[in-house]
């Protein structure tokens, strides 16, 4: 897979570190055990487009917010996570 890093251009996926789904958001600290468990362990795990975080560990060290189709490995969009506020 080739990932088009906004800073570095198209680079081999082996330069990147995969962090996982980006859709769940951390619940408030007093949201309760069920909400915390759901955040830590629950996964949407879609077969299709998924928003996820990748880290460009071997180059610019930016966190990226990526949309990728899990059925085809096609990258639909790559943006800087900092620009999305997450």
């Amino acid at each position: 897979m080739i990932i088009s890093c906004p800073h570095c251009g198209p680079r081999d996926s082996s330069e990147f570190y995969f962090r996982g789904e980006a859709t769940p958001t951390r619940p408030e600290y007093d949201a309760g055990t069920a909400a915390a468990t759901g955040y830590v362990y629950g996964r949407i795990n879609p077969a299709g487009p998924q928003k996820e975080h990748w880290y460009h560990a071997a180059a610019c060290r930016s966190w990226l917010l990526v949309e990728r189709d899990t059925r085809t490995h096609k990258f639909l969009s790559v943006t800087l996570a900092s620009e999305q506020g997450r």
């Binding site: 995969f18 996982g20 759901g38 629950g42 795990n45 879609p46 077969a47 059925r71």
Partner: protein
């Protein structure tokens, strides 16, 4: 259809009559309106579940529904290893139950599953790793499972071709389980299908689940499929790889990620590898099929995938590990590689349990170790479906262990490659 018993006598009689009398091994059934139990997934686990439901628990109104053809998912994509060399008390009895079932499986099913107890040798490469293996071997022996800790000289006698004096990964010894080995993956599927079909189980192919039928209380009372609605007293999911997708039809969000795991086979060679050998300084394992191909694999690719194919960085990684442990394979050519979709739970252990949805039962989360579990997984899932209570050897495979904190972290590994 009358059952055709397989034996040397049957074979001889067929040979004398030109092999014109063979019957289909199992019935390719059309769906009925209703069953006591519908098992989703016609892989090894689903078919074993149906077989043991009928044979052990007396539930014969059973359908196994499969979206493609039986054994076309992970049952046809694994590396055929069977073993029970685990560490945790929550795991050893389950996998040992499975290995014992493997040992009697062919007689029980009247089918040649090519179970071959050629042994598995886990190599260690440091004093600390040898200590950990000694601990695991002792845990196995305390549970009545065979384990032998070998020194470098004994390993050298077994496998003289290994790179013993590798500067980075010298071989300090290994943990051997002699009763482990391999089985023929397709044969396992066909054997369970035939034996289940003989006991009245309907095996329905090309029948993809598209939703669940729910009653007003929310209870699952059947499945919507590409071949129409099928009602059921209970519905069991045995669809590892696609568990999240099927469970989402019941609005369940599970502690599972789907990841791709690649495997490889070389051209056929004369017998060179005595059993299964694993590399302790990375994640690499290898065995040799009866046809002569070296069957090997390593890590997950490391990102969520349903694509059933992987990428080149892992190919390179696996081949580097092969060269680090047994340089003799360097001139063998890779014949094929493929990918299967693994149900990676977040503690690395499977789930056999009821779900929060009444009437819906879950068998999944097999990570990359589902093949060896096939018979016991079917046995324990059948127990759960028939009696509504977990089988004692699978009692730790609870879905709520993630909320309660009672994780079963055999290797401290979850879905992410950096934790494995």
């Amino acid at each position: 259809m009358e059952r055709q018993h397989y034996s040397l006598f049957t074979l001889a009689r067929q040979a004398l009559t030109g092999h014109r009398g063979w019957q289909p091994a199992w019935r390719d059934a059309a769906p009925q309106d209703r069953y006591d139990v519908v098992v989703i997934g016609g892989g090894g686990h689903g078919l074993a579940t149906a077989y043991y439901l009928a044979k052990i628990f007396g539930v014969t109104s059973v359908a196994v529904i499969e979206k493609g053809w039986i054994g076309g998912g992970n049952a046809g994509r694994n590396t055929t290893i069977i073993r029970s060399n685990y560490l945790l008390p929550g795991n050893i009895p389950f996998y040992e139950h499975s290995l014992k079932l493997w040992e009697g499986l062919e007689q029980d099913l009247n089918y040649n599953a090519m179970v071959s107890q050629r042994g598995i040798l886990n190599l260690c490469h440091s004093d600390e790793q040898r200590d950990a293996f000694e601990r695991r071997g002792n845990a196995m022996r305390l549970h009545g499972v065979d384990a032998d800790l070998l020194g470098p000289a004994e390993v050298r006698r077994m496998a003289p071709f290994l790179d013993f004096d590798n500067a980075r990964f010298p071989i300090f010894g290994g943990l051997l389980q002699k009763r482990a080995g391999t089985a023929r993956h397709d044969g396992v599927v066909w054997g369970f299908a035939r034996a289940a079909s003989d006991r009245g189980v309907d095996i329905i192919q090309n029948c993809e689940v598209t939703g669940f039928v729910r009653d007003p209380s929310g209870r699952v009372t059947g499945v919507e499929t590409s071949r129409g609605k099928i009602l059921a007293g209970k519905v069991g999911m045995a669809v590892a790889g696609n568990t999240s997708r099927v469970a989402s039809f019941a609005d369940l969000r599970l502690p599972i990620e789907s990841h791709v795991l690649q495997a490889f086979v070389s051209e056929g060679l004369k017998p060179v590898i005595p059993g299964v050998i694993t590399f302790g300084a990375g994640h690499f394992y290898i065995s040799q099929s009866d046809k002569g191909g070296l069957v090997f694999g390593g890590d997950l690719d490391g990102y969520n995938s349903y694509a059933q194919r992987g990428n080149l960085p892992i190919v390179e990684d696996v081949c580097e590990e092969a060269m680090a442990i047994m340089p003799m394979v360097g001139r063998a050519r890779v014949l094929r590689s493929w990918g299967g979709i693994m149900d990676m739970t977040l503690d690395g252990s499977p789930i056999i349990d009821r779900t929060p949805v009444p009437g819906l039962y879950l068998n999944g989360g097999w990570c990359y170790g589902g093949f060896k579990a096939t018979p016991a997984s079917g046995w324990c899932f059948a127990h759960l479906l028939a009696r509504d209570a977990p089988h004692p050897v699978a009692a730790h495979y609870r879905l709520d262990r993630f909320a309660s904190g009672q994780l079963l972290d055999e290797k401290g590994a979850g879905a992410q490659a950096n934790l494995q």
